[in-house]
Symmetry: C2
DNA sequence: GCTTTCGTTTGATCTGCATCAAAGTCAGTG
DNA sequence: CACTGACTTTGATGCAGATCAAACGAAAGC
């Protein structure tokens, strides 16, 4: 996705991801100028909550740098991550007053925000923004559905391989390289966060990561630094037939 | 959802769900007229495929009567349902050439369709349609994320109770009643289809349905006809904290 | 009426992952 | 440098749900 969008980054655009993602592809100077006037930035430290489920949410925005997660929690504490927000991903829902999920910064995070009211007014006045938002939402929906297959039917080993493949792909995309041959990247998640994403326990995650290492599907340096010698092998382990694959 | 949308059904509107769902809320005569000119109907028998994943999909549409499912399948045959389409739900993605999922009619099905090209042109010309589509897509995304929690973290019994609650709610909504007290409805799915939706085997589904019956959470007449004496009890069994709940 | 077929139920057994428990690694800090 | 706390790994054991297997009930065809 990021590769795709990079084609649309204009000289006129600043670092604000809304402009890249929601507008740039078909932007004109007026729209950009208007967005520029109402935007502002927010920073969060690693581990800090951005917003809790149920809280009033009077802004929308997108990630500039860092990583945030969307999670749902049951009363007894069981947690399921339902989204992973990487740079350029959008947060918040136009037309909804309160947050539906817990949003947490897992690394230091900078977001580019717009107060909801003026943003919604702009959306009405500027169809391009709404259209771009629809595209992004449809992508997220596809990602969520692919994740449903993972959660419902894949084994622990396949889940781990899938997550690694997705992170590898996103990482390669950010570096504007295609994910073939040897890939090197850092895991942006702890074992526990991986477990919350995959519907597993952290112990199982640890065991399966070790197993993939033992079987030379990956190699590890420290806990986080991963090398994937053969990306196709990893995809095979992931049980993926398709090679689309999103991470939202 | 259907209750909500019923408020917007105008006298001028025909039975075409696109008009209800995508346009009616804020429709004007011109838009309706234009949509009316390009729409057509398709019928499918129970069990018939609507489209296979990967096939060219040159239309979009929505369900008028009957029920369809979206499923993903892995090479080795493991299947996961990722959507359940009830009357008024939308199928197809503007801007995508081929289907991403298998769509199957589980009952006799009538769909109201539009060829993709003219529909997309109308979307560009008529921002209301795009905005309504964005709302619907965001609802589906919420439903998918709630389903991720179910698939990743709920027990088999909770999964069954959740599915029954969702079907009961949707059924009550179609009858314009609020889902309290005793509810009676027919399951639109076989045990196997329920299993595919819940990430279980059909045997486990059968056992857990029997268990809920034994514990008087539900009663059954035949295999399909369900009575829920106490909806709140069912929600409790489902482990649901929220009482939103979508079924897409 | 009998047989076939499809969906379902129920029983016996197995297994992948959860759970419980302990110990190892590493960065930060007094 | 030892101490602390966060994160991770590894081991032992238990159990929810999968798998394998058989039988049941109802509808459809002959």
């Amino acid at each position: 996705m990021a590769v795709h969008d990079a084609q649309f980054v204009h000289q006129e655009c600043s670092d604000c991801p809304i402009r890249h993602r929601a507008v740039c592809a078909r932007c004109d100077a007026d729209e950009l100028g208007k967005l520029e006037q109402i935007k502002f930035y927010r920073s969060y430290q690693a581990g800090q909550p951005v917003i809790w489920s149920g809280d009033r949410m009077d802004f929308v925005g997108s990630v500039v740098t860092g990583i945030a997660t969307l999670t749902q929690t049951m009363e007894d504490g069981r947690r399921q991550m339902v989204g992973l927000l990487l740079p350029s991903d959008f947060v918040g829902r136009p037309g909804r007053a309160s947050a539906a999920y817990d949003v947490t910064a897992t690394t230091d995070l900078v977001m580019c925000c717009f107060r909801k009211k003026p943003f919604e007014e702009m959306m009405l006045a500027t169809p391009h923004i709404g259209q771009r938002l629809l595209e992004m939402t449809l992508d997220e929906l596809d990602a969520a559905r692919e994740w449903m297959l993972l959660l419902g039917r894949k084994t622990a080993r396949e889940k781990i391989a899938s997550l690694l493949a997705i992170i590898a792909r996103r990482d390669a995309a950010l570096k504007l390289r295609s994910p073939k041959g040897a890939l090197v990247f850092d895991l942006p998640l702890t074992r526990e966060e991986m477990a919350d994403y995959l519907g597993l326990t952290l112990e199982t995650v640890s065991r399966q990561v070790s197993a993939l290492k033992r079987d030379d599907v990956i190699s590890l340096e420290g806990n986080r630094h991963v090398t994937v010698p053969d990306f196709d092998r990893l995809l095979e382990e992931a049980g993926d037939d398709n090679d689309g694959g999103y991470l939202v």
